[in-house]
């Protein structure tokens, strides 16, 4: 059963918190991973791999560069769960 966008956001926020220490409630749909949350590329790759495991989806490396905001990632994951 696929998760709702809100559930994906909450799960993603936990992954971001675990990797970076950023508070889960700061991880909001309109936030940019780099500009707002100051997440570097190394953390981003770790977050992507952990998100793949958690949500059972594939996020190709070519796609990662399009995921600029938390909302982009939530949309991608929600759709990819299909």
């Amino acid at each position: 059963m696929s998760l709702s966008a809100a559930e994906v956001l909450s799960g993603l926020a936990e992954i971001v918190n675990d990797e970076t220490g950023i508070a889960t409630d700061a991880v909001q749909l309109d936030k940019s991973f780099t500009d707002d949350l100051d997440i570097d590329s190394i953390s981003m790759m770790t977050i992507v791999v952990n998100a793949e495991d958690k949500f059972d989806v594939k996020i190709p490396d070519d796609e990662v560069k399009n995921l600029l905001t938390v909302g982009d990632a939530v949309n991608y994951i929600t759709k990819a769960q299909g």
Partner: protein
């Protein structure tokens, strides 16, 4: 112009304690940091050695989860001890361009390396974390400290097996002495209590196999010694030019007066039985200190508790000190701490500094029957060191034929 170099801060996390004070206290109390390993991999791999000297306080308990996640255990120990040392030195204001790091490891991030290889085999390349390389590199501890303290005068890593920590201090001493920098954060760390290094050191018959008596296993100079005990942790010293330290009114533990690094070119693991190059390292440190053997009031020996190594060091000591040797109190502190490999020289430098500062030589535990071939005055109970402006040396030797010696003088 040659600059005087002093020690203004110390920090340690060791099998005896989570900081330098508790470590020193436990050392003076004659405690052992060695115990039976409870990890499941000991039985799983049927390791021939089932004990080690694990850090008293796991480093990740002293770091945030995010810090711990991005650092190999060796770097975790390094950062914990460097923070203590920096704070102890009064968090000195120093220009980043005059602040350097000289921080050693013997092996580097071996937990990270081997965990990542397991991940690769079990889950494929995409699951190998992107932080793997910076975590496994031998300069990881030095880099972590340099980043934290904004050191921009060079961050370097001596890698010379069990001489690494002392070599890092020697390098630090020379940089300040030559006027290149004002402060160096110097030391060494190791976190190699992992089944592979245990199996590998055991394969070369370097480790004690006293599985039924772990606390008695590290017994330098004893007739029943049968190898060293693996230890883990880190030690950090803040070395500073005397003028910089005095200008800011810093507390001074001791002066660093000489350092020397030589090499045997004899055998990849066995020490030169004649001890010629090891002796030259001791003499080199004394020469740089503008001192003679008569000035030496205390020696912290390398003394790992291997049958061959302890004798070889004794031969080198005899070569240097001759008749004088019998009147110098010698401490072999690996009896309590185990052997921290790349961290050993650093914590033993701290013990040497504290011995001078508190005028007390620390005890060598487990010495029941002293090897009759080793005629040293071994300190078995804490012993008062008499006199002022007295000198002490600390020796470290490593596989590869590395010899490193640092000499300290008490400051009254």
């Amino acid at each position: 112009m040659v600059h005087k170099v002093v020690v203004t801060g110390i920090g340690a996390t060791t099998p005896l304690g989570g900081d330098s004070k508790s470590t020193w206290k436990a050392l003076l109390a004659g405690e052992s940091g060695v115990s039976t390993l409870s990890q499941d991999w000991v039985a799983k791999y049927e390791l021939p050695v089932t004990f080690a000297a694990q850090a008293k306080v796991p480093a990740k308990e002293m770091l945030t989860p995010q810090e711990a996640k991005r650092l190999d255990p060796s770097s975790q120990f390094a950062l914990v001890s460097a923070r203590e040392a920096w704070l102890d030195a009064g968090s000195p204001a120093v220009s980043p361009e005059r602040l350097a790091v000289e921080y050693a490891t013997g092996i580097g991030g071996i937990w990270t390396l081997l965990d990542a290889y397991d991940t690769l085999k079990e889950r494929g390349p995409r699951r190998v974390l992107p932080m793997t390389v910076p975590m496994l590199m031998a300069n990881g501890p030095a880099a972590a400290i340099g980043m934290e303290l904004h050191a921009r005068a060079g961050v370097r890593t001596a890698v010379s097996a069990c001489a690494s920590g002392t070599e890092a201090i020697a390098n630090a001493f020379n940089r300040i002495r030559d006027g290149e920098v004002d402060i160096v954060v110097a030391g060494g760390a190791e976190a190699a209590i992992h089944p592979l290094p245990i199996a590998a050191f055991a394969a070369m018959h370097a480790l004690s196999k006293r599985n039924d008596d772990p606390a008695g296993a590290s017994r330098p100079y004893d007739t029943q010694r049968d190898g060293f005990v693996m230890g883990e942790g880190a030690g950090t010293l803040i070395l500073e030019s005397e003028e910089h330290a005095k200008a800011r009114g810093a507390k001074i533990y001791a002066e660093v007066v000489g350092a020397s690094v030589t090499s045997d070119a004899h055998h990849i693991t066995a020490p030169d039985p004649e001890g010629t190059a090891a002796a030259r390292a001791m003499l080199g440190a004394l020469e740089q200190a503008d001192s003679s053997i008569q000035d030496v009031a205390h020696i912290n020996a390398h003394a790992t508790s291997t049958p061959v190594g302890d004798i070889a060091e004794y031969q080198a000591l005899k070569r240097v000190f001759g008749e004088k040797l019998s009147s110098i109190p010698v401490s072999a502190t690996k009896a309590s701490t185990g052997h921290l490999l790349g961290g050993a020289g650093a914590i033993e430098a701290i013990f040497t500094v504290l011995a001078l500062h508190e005028k007390t030589a620390p005890p060598t535990i487990n010495l029941e029957n002293q090897d009759p071939e080793i005629k040293l005055d071994v300190v078995v109970n804490p012993r008062k060191l008499e006199g002022s402006n007295i000198l002490a040396i600390t020796n470290s030797f490593g596989f590869g034929g590395h010899n490193a010696v640092v000499a300290f003088r008490s400051v009254e």
